[in-house]
C-alpha cells in the first residue's frame, strides 16, 4: 500500500514541474478517489520535513573560531561552489584556526588542525 512518505515525495516532485497547479490538482483528485484524505496530515508533515531538509542542505554553514570577514566568506563560497547559497556562520571553539563548512551533503575541512596532521603525515612518511 502507498504510504504517506511516498505521497509527500510525489507531491514535492509534482510541485517542481512547469504546470504544477494542474499536477497538484490531479494529485488531490487521486487522494479523494482513493480515500486517502485521512493521511493528509502525515503527508503534510513529510512535506515539511523534506522542505526543511532541502533548505538545510542549500545553506552554507561555516564553523570557525571567530566571525569571518566577507572576503573570507566569498573565498569559502568559491571553494565550496555555494555562490548563491544562504550563509550561516557558527562560532566553534574547537576549531583552532581555519574553518569547517558544510554544504549540500559535503563537509569542507579547511581547519588548521587537519593541515597540521597532513603536514605531519607528509614529513613522517
Amino acid at each position: 500500500m502507498i504510504n504517506s512518505r511516498t505521497l509527500a515525495e510525489t507531491a514535492v516532485i509534482l510541485s517542481q514541474k512547469s504546470d504544477a497547479p494542474k499536477h497538484i490538482q490531479a494529485f488531490i483528485e487521486y487522494m479523494n478517489k482513493n480515500n486517502l484524505n485521512g493521511i493528509l496530515p502525515q503527508v503534510l508533515d513529510h512535506i515539511k520535513r523534506l522542505s526543511s531538509k532541502t533548505s538545510e542542505e542549500e545553506t552554507l554553514h561555516i564553523y570557525s573560531k571567530y566571525d569571518l570577514a566577507k572576503k573570507d566568506i566569498d573565498r569559502i563560497r568559491t571553494a565550496t561552489g555555494a555562490h548563491d547559497a544562504h550563509v550561516e556562520q557558527h562560532i566553534d571553539n574547537s576549531v583552532i584556526g581555519g574553518f569547517n563548512a558544510t554544504y549540500k551533503g559535503y563537509m569542507y575541512d579547511g581547519s588548521l588542525e587537519t593541515q597540521v596532521i597532513r603536514l605531519k603525515t607528509m614529513l613522517t612518511r
Binding site: 542542505e57 571553494a79 558544510t102 551533503g105 559535503y106 563537509m107 569542507y108 575541512d109 579547511g110 587537519t114 593541515q115 597532513r118 603536514l119 607528509m122 614529513l123
Partner: protein, 498 residues
C-alpha cells in the same frame, strides 16, 4: 646525512606543502538501534565502505538503498543519536597488520586487547579480498600434522585444505583445534585462532594453555566475544583470514581456526534481519552460503610463482543433537574438503578424541599424507570398518567364532590405541610405529586395558634408544625401515611383557 642537510630537506618539504580543503561526503543518521544505523544523504557511498560517526565510532555500509544506507556500527552505538553526521572515509574496511601481531590477542579490528601495548603495523590488509584464482593455486600435497593419531592416520589434513570440525556442544571441538595449534611448534606454521561469540573466560583459558605450551610464539588470537556486538562477530573471521593473508603474501604457511561458524551465521542472521533483508530458511538470509563460501575459498595453497604459501582452514560448527543435516552444517560440509565428526556418545563412552571415523572424511588430505603413514594407516581403516560392522555382535561373546572374536579384539585395541589425552600431540613417526605394531598383530599378547600403557612406554623406548629409526620414518618408508621397526617392537614387547 648531517643535521644541516636534514633541516634543509625538511624545510623544502614544508615549503612544498600545499594547504588544501578536505572534502568529504556526509549523511545524517535517520535511525539507530541494535547496532544498525540508517543514514540518508550518502549518495556516493560504496558497498563495504567504512563510515565514521560523530563520536569517532566506525561503521561499515552493508545496505545501499534508494534513500538510505544501512550501516553496521563497529563499536559503541549507544552514543550515536538521530541527526548525527556520518562521514564517508572512501576506504573499504581494512585492518592494520604486521609481524608484531603474532603472539597477540586482538579484537576484529586488530586493536590489541591483551594489555601489551600497541601493535606496529606494516600494511592495511583488506578484510574482504577475492580468493586466489585457479592459476595461482597448487594441489594440496604437504601434510599438516595435527599430532592427533586418529586424524593424522584416518582423516589426514594437508596444508591449504579446509577441514570442518563438527559436533555437538562439549564434544571436544575446541580442544582438537587447540591441540592442532600446539602441534605446529617447529613446523614453520603461523596460526590464527578466531573466537566468535564465545565466552571470554573460555578463550582466556585457551590463551593460557597456548602460552604454557609455547604456542603463542606463532599464534594470533582474534576475539569477538559473546558480549561483543554482532557486527564485530560478523567481521571476526574475515579479520582472521586477512591476518593469515598477510603471512601468505610473504610465502608462509598459516593455519586458521574459526571457532565457530554457527555463531558467525547467527550473528549475520541478526544483522540481516535488522537490516530488513528477507529471511529464508531458519530465518537466515539468502546469502548465508556465500557468507561462508567466500571466507573458506580464501584457504589455498599457492604455487611457487606466487610465493608457495598456504592457508589451512579449520572451521568449527556446533550441531544440535548430532543433527548434521541442519542448514548451516550442510552448507559448510559442502564447502569444505572434508569433516571431522565428533560424537557425544563416543565422548561419554570415554573415547577421546570422540571422532566418529565412519562419518569423518578428508577429501584431499590423503595425497598429502606422509608415505610411511599412508602405508600403515590403510589396514587400520579396514580393521576399524570391520570392527564397526561386528561391534553389535560383541554382546554375544560366547557364541562367536574365533575369527570374529579376533576381529573384535583387534578392533577394540585399535580404538584403544587411537585414544589420546588432551594437549599431548604425538609426532608422526611415533604414530606410524604404534599403528604398525597394531596392524602386524604385535599387540595380540597385550590386554586391551594395557594398550595405552604399552603405547606410552613404547614411545619412551623409541625416544631413548631408537631415535634414528624415528628420523628414518619421517623421511620415508622402505623395507629396511620396516624390518628395523619390527625388531624394535619385538625388543620392546619382550621387555614390556616379560
Amino acid at each position: 646525512m648531517n643535521t644541516e642537510t636534514l633541516i634543509k630537506k625538511i624545510e623544502t618539504q614544508i615549503n612544498n606543502f600545499e594547504t588544501n580543503v578536505d572534502v568529504t561526503e556526509y549523511g545524517i543518521v535517520q535511525s539507530i538501534g541494535d547496532g544498525i544505523a540508517r543514514v540518508s544523504g550518502l549518495s556516493h557511498c560504496k558497498a563495504s565502505e567504512m563510515i565514521e560517526f560523530d563520536n569517532g565510532t566506525m561503521g561499515v555500509a552493508l545496505n545501499l538503498e534508494e534513500d538510505t544506507v544501512g550501516i553496521i556500527v563497529l563499536g559503541d552505538y549507544l552514543s550515536i543519536k538521530e541527526g548525527d553526521k556520518a562521514k564517508r572515509t572512501g576506504n573499504i574496511l581494512a585492518i592494520p597488520v604486521g609481524d608484531a601481531i603474532v603472539g597477540r590477542v586482538v579484537d576484529p579490528l586488530a586493536h590489541p586487547i591483551d594489555g601489551k601495548g600497541d601493535i606496529a603495523k606494516d600494511v592495511d590488509q583488506l578484510i574482504e579480498r577475492v580468493a586466489p584464482g585457479v592459476m595461482t593455486r597448487e594441489p594440496v600435497s604437504v601434510p599438516m600434522q595435527t599430532g592427533i593419531k586418529v586424524i593424522d592416520a584416518l582423516v589426514p589434513i594437508g596444508r591449504g585444505q579446509r577441514e570442518l570440525i563438527i559436533g555437538d556442544r562439549q564434544t571436544g571441538k575446541t580442544a582438537l583445534a587447540i591441540d592442532t595449534i600446539i602441534n605446529q611448534k617447529g613446523q614453520h606454521m603461523k596460526c590464527v585462532y578466531v573466537a566468535i561469540g564465545q565466552k571470554k573466560s573460555k578463550v582466556m583459558r585457551a590463551v593460557r594453555r597456548l602460552e604454557t605450551a609455547g604456542a603463542m610464539e606463532y599464534t594470533t588470537i582474534v576475539l569477538a566475544g559473546a558480549s561483543d556486538p554482532s557486527s564485530l562477530q560478523y567481521i571476526a573471521p574475515y579479520s582472521g583470514v586477512a591476518i593469515a593473508e598477510y603471512f601468505l603474501d610473504k610465502g608462509e604457511d598459516v593455519l586458521v581456526v574459526y571457532d565457530d561458524l554457527s555463531k558467525h551465521a547467527a550473528a549475520y542472521r541478526e544483522i540481516s534481519l535488522l537490516l530488513r533483508r528477507p529471511p529464508g530458511r531458519e530465518a537466515y538470509p539468502g546469502d548465508v552460503f556465500y557468507l561462508h563460501s567466500r571466507l573458506l575459498e580464501r584457504a589455498c595453497r599457492l604455487n611457487a610463482d606466487n610465493g608457495g604459501g598456504s592457508i589451512t582452514a579449520l572451521p568449527v560448527i556446533e550441531t544440535q543433537g548430532g543433527d548434521i543435516s541442519a542448514y548451516i552444517p550442510t552448507n559448510v560440509i559442502s564447502i569444505t574438503d572434508g569433516q571431522i565428526f565428533l560424537e557425544a556418545g563416543l565422548f561419554n563412552k570415554g573415547i577421546r578424541p570422540a571422532i566418529n571415523v565412519g562419518f569423518s572424511v578428508s577429501r584431499v588430505g590423503g595425497s598429502a599424507q606422509a608415505k610411511a603413514m599412508k602405508k600403515t594407516a590403510g589396514p587400520m581403516k579396514l580393521a576399524l570398518a570391520q570392527y564397526r560392522e561386528l561391534e553389535s555382535f560383541a554382546q554375544f561373546d560366547s557364541d562367536l567364532d574365533a575369527q570374529t572374536k579376533a576381529t573384535l579384539d583387534h578392533g577394540a585395541k585399535s580404538v584403544e590405541l587411537l585414544k589420546q589425552k588432551q594437549y599431548s600431540p604425538v609426532s608422526m613417526p611415533k604414530q606410524v610405529a604404534a599403528i604398525y605394531a597394531l596392524n602386524n598383530k604385535m599387540l595380540d599378547g597385550i590386554q586391551k586395558e594395557k594398550v595405552q600403557a604399552w603405547e606410552q612406554e613404547f614411545y619412551s623406548f623409541l625416544d631413548a634408544s631408537k631415535s634414528s629409526l624415528l628420523t628414518d620414518i619421517e623421511k620415508g618408508w622402505t623395507e629396511d625401515i620396516e624390518q628395523n621397526l619390527t625388531s624394535a617392537i619385538t625388543e620392546f614387547n619382550d621387555v614390556f611383557t616379560g
